[in-house]
Symmetry: C2
Subunit: 450 residues, 2 copies
């Protein structure tokens, strides 16, 4: 580590405080790295990786550490490579509707900067105020707007990245289309920092929508809320967000940061429309009609500020749940949208059978449910029961044609379960692709693959 500190003066720390701060992420998992290094350029990253490669030292790339599955939690003796200082927006190309950013740029900062240019970058993870674009690329992050606009993958045009042996590569194109060679760009997107360290990201952006309308729908019956979701979408309306909160989640939010949701509600839908003002006004009318026909109660946020307030409430869900129980096992399964009601019924059944509280919220429009299993890590018996539930939930998810993760990735927390979803031949291909990029297995080892 001394040699590394000499190579990168002022950028390497072995202070206990830093080793502590950079040793965990939002999964709650924790381990102490051997050192933390802050890169400020692709060349820095190349130096660090070149050194680590020669000396067989594991390197853990890290954005804001807001990941949910331990993807940036270090293994013992590893170097944490923080990209947070590479936080510049390098280029806003309005003519070609693209931006070039460093990986440490905070998602929300990019959103705000683009807004000033009347541009729009849709992916909006709940952690948008602190998560980084580099982290979003590593995890292929989604967010409420995915139902209309897709996920991070759909916006990454090209990458600059550093291979584990220190070579800098460039993938993708600066053009809207490009089909020369294999799609290395999308192979890196969602690879959870196991194939290469991203040092520049070119993103496609869209024109800023002219207007936004937010609707809130309350139902005293979950099945009718589900029917409303189906009805809205099959009517040809694609809202930019179509979120649901179950009863347990509504209560938790109200207790943490009161918004004024009635307490006798079984299911809540939060619907955002964007586009031309007249178009979305019509769509809002039609949605209101659908909701009322299903005996839901609907209110429309009168202006964007009021709408934004409701969305803030949605983003408060995650912290609010920590007030229910000290530990939250947070899964992010996805099922085909039409299977959501069945999935919720199964979750309720499992909760009743085990006596463990499960609260659910998420993206009704795309079938991505955030399942929160509430327990106390310090109550061993309860925590074990909660852990056992995870496998049951995954089994039910896969039976409904779903996936173990819609947004959070595999990381450490789901690595033990990956073979429930990915069969041996496919898993073998993935491992051999890992070997192509990282033959010495120094980059984020132990993640994804058990």
């Amino acid at each position: 580590m001394k040699k590394l500190a000499e190579m990168l003066p002022g950028k390497v720390s072995t202070e206990p405080e830093d080793l502590l701060c950079y040793g965990f992420d939002a999964s709650g998992l924790q381990a102490a790295p051997a050192a933390v290094v802050w890169a400020q350029s692709a060349e820095d990253v190349a130096k660090i990786l070149g050194f680590a490669y020669s000396n067989n030292i594991p390197v853990i790339p890290r954005g804001a550490g807001s990941g949910m599955t331990g993807g940036s939690v270090p293994s013992k003796g590893a170097v944490v490579l923080s990209l947070e200082r590479m936080n510049k927006i390098l280029e806003i190309d309005r003519e070609n509707m693209s931006v070039l950013v460093e990986p440490g740029v905070i998602n929300g900062n990019l959103q705000r900067e683009l807004q000033r240019h009347k541009l729009f970058y849709p992916p909006d993870p709940a952690s948008m105020d602190f998560c980084t674009i580099g982290g979003n690329v590593a995890e292929n992050s989604g967010g409420p707007r995915a139902v209309k606009y897709g996920v991070t993958r759909d916006y990454v045009m090209g990458l600059e990245a550093v291979l584990p042996d220190g070579r800098i590569i460039n993938t993708g194109v600066k053009t809207a289309k490009g089909v020369v060679g294999y799609d290395l760009t999308r192979l890196l997107v969602g690879s959870e920092g196991t194939l290469a360290v991203v040092t520049k990201v070119r993103l496609r952006v869209l024109p800023l929508p002219e207007a936004v309308i937010t609707l809130l729908a309350l139902f005293d019956d979950t099945a009718r809320a589900g029917a409303a979701v189906g009805k809205i979408l099959t009517n040809g309306i694609i809202p930019r967000a179509l979120e649901f909160l179950d009863r347990g989640t509504i209560h938790a939010v109200e207790n943490y940061k009161p918004v004024g949701f009635p307490k006798d509600t079984e299911a809540l839908l939060l619907i955002e429309l964007d586009g031309r003002p007249q178009t979305i006004a019509k769509e809002a009318e039609r949605i209101s009609e659908i909701i009322r026909n299903l005996r839901g109660e609907v209110t429309m946020a009168e202006d964007e500020a009021a709408g934004e307030k409701l969305c803030e409430a949605r983003r408060a869900v995650s912290p609010a749940l920590y007030h229910l129980k000290p530990t939250k096992i947070n899964e992010d399964i996805a099922v085909p949208r039409s299977r959501i009601p069945e999935m919720l019924m199964t979750l309720n059944r499992l909760s009743e059978e085990t006596g463990i509280t499960i609260v659910n919220f998420g993206h009704a429009g795309d079938g991505n449910i955030h399942v929160n299993i509430m327990a106390d890590r310090n109550n061993k018996e309860e925590y074990d029961r909660a852990q056992n539930l995870v496998k049951e939930i995954f089994r039910a998810t896969l039976e409904l044609g779903g996936t173990l993760s819609g947004e959070h990735g595999v990381g450490l927390t789901k690595a033990a379960y990956i073979s429930m979803e990915i069969p041996p031949a496919e898993l073998d291909l993935m491992k051999r692709i890992k070997g192509v990029f990282d033959p010495k297995n120094i980059l984020n080892p132990g993640k994804i693959f058990p």
Copy 2:
């Protein structure tokens, strides 16, 4: 081959007529395979590949043979594996907005079937009336609607495919989102049949847009046509098609299939809007204003049938050009949209300097230009000059930040040029990924990589 015929009775031919018919594609390249096999199931494909793998026989997967770069042209002694009989639409899941199809389904047939269900699959290559979804997946096909809706990659949710050694794999998810493991799905999309043979495709579909308006704009100056394109898009209007034809192309179409375009036009824009009727009526107004302000002449197709007629004309471009000269070297470069005027100027200069006719048309909205170098293959001197031009054009394209192919892929015709665009480290990664899937190099050998 006799053994193969025994394994798959009635599905193998070595008739000279079949060897001829299945020996070429739209690139004009041709070679005789050793046999043609028509698979009717994934199991058939697995049998054929298993046999070929054991016996080191090259296998060339083939959809409709409408590819532009020789991707399905066999090498000597190879078996052509035709997927055209696997042409069933297996499932239309309206609730979850997805369809499951076999690879031999014709793109246009899927479009029409979906229309009956009020659904919409956007990718629309000019060859849509005969090209197959499997071929579209192999090439990551685009089409005019890519400017608004993206390309094939953006609609493929998951694949069933057969590895070169005969193992059947499944990639991707049935859900809108999924981030478990590496993105094998998008690695296969655009891999030009070199990694695996696709046997089932799950595609995302959209609600059918309520209405379409088509606009035709004529300019006596190319630069002003280019300015109109920029102006439309920076006004926040994203048409579902934004096509341009240059003077040479307009003349060729008129001579082949007269539509009534005035002959003194320098550039023509064909603009399609889709969405809610009132919204697009407003957008059409705004576009007309932009065009007139730039001294263009604009006409609006009064109904969908009239609009469809104009789009048919666009699709007639390719055959029309064969009437100019017997041989058409058809490149499909893409540049960042703002660089189109520079690119067209360079193309005109190169045409003047060499005396070779070059006509250009394409997708102005996404910078994808179809550059057609017109020559006679039987006039050796002229054809050599035309061939030399290709490299010049590629060099200019890359200097403008472009790519050698926006839609057609590399295949055989661009393999010699791939290293102009893809640097050694990236090319090496791609070749090693090929090795992971196809260690014996039996699947479509000689394509993409020189």
